[in-house]
């Protein structure tokens, strides 16, 4: 699955996106994998919302490898 980083998260990951092959997984598995790759994200986890295929999802969401998953830090438009 494609994992997208936005806002200040890009300053931590130094990349805008990442491709993972995880098979079907829940959000905890996904987060564990992402934080293993980018430990600097850990302190921000509670403030980050996940979007799957451009829709916000809750912590009960399931993800598959064809999904586009975005890590959405607090927004600041306007």
């Amino acid at each position: 699955m494609r994992i997208l980083f936005f806002g200040h998260l890009q300053d931590i990951t130094l990349q805008a996106e990442l491709v993972l092959m995880l098979g079907e997984s829940g959000s905890d598995e996904l987060w564990n994998k992402i934080i293993a790759l980018h430990p600097g994200l850990a302190p921000f986890r509670s403030a980050i919302r996940l979007a799957r295929n451009q829709e916000y999802v809750g912590s009960d969401a399931r993800f598959i490898d064809t999904d586009e998953v975005a890590l959405i830090p607090p927004v600041s438009g306007g």
Binding site: F6, Q54, E55, Y56, A70, I72, P73, V75, G77, G78
Partner: protein, 129 residues
Amino acid sequence: MKVDARLTDLPIVSDTHPALSPYEVGAWTEFRGLVRAEENGRLIRALEYQAYPGMAERELQRLLGALLRKHACLAAQVIHRIGVVPVGEAAIYVGVASRHRKEGFALLSEFMDGLKKDVPIWKRQALSQ
């Protein structure tokens, strides 16, 4: 009911008037959020905005459409600028056509609150003077 939501990387040019029947529109309310020269106590020359394209437009559209129905307004347009926005220029424009002013004011205020909660757009960095 008409909702128009878009991003642009050029200076914002809004529709000058609601493209609607004058039979109904009694109030036309507009808001522009401008980049200020002071950001967190330092002088800047521009802000750089980033969006999650696709999702940002979709969330703008969803939010504006929901508020249009909730407040029984007639039409609304939102344009958010992305990329480098110089000081004094608009980062966002919102226009609302309604029968009476109160529902237009209510929509505008709630829209801006919702924008700052749910629409995936970020102030990416402030460019110093």
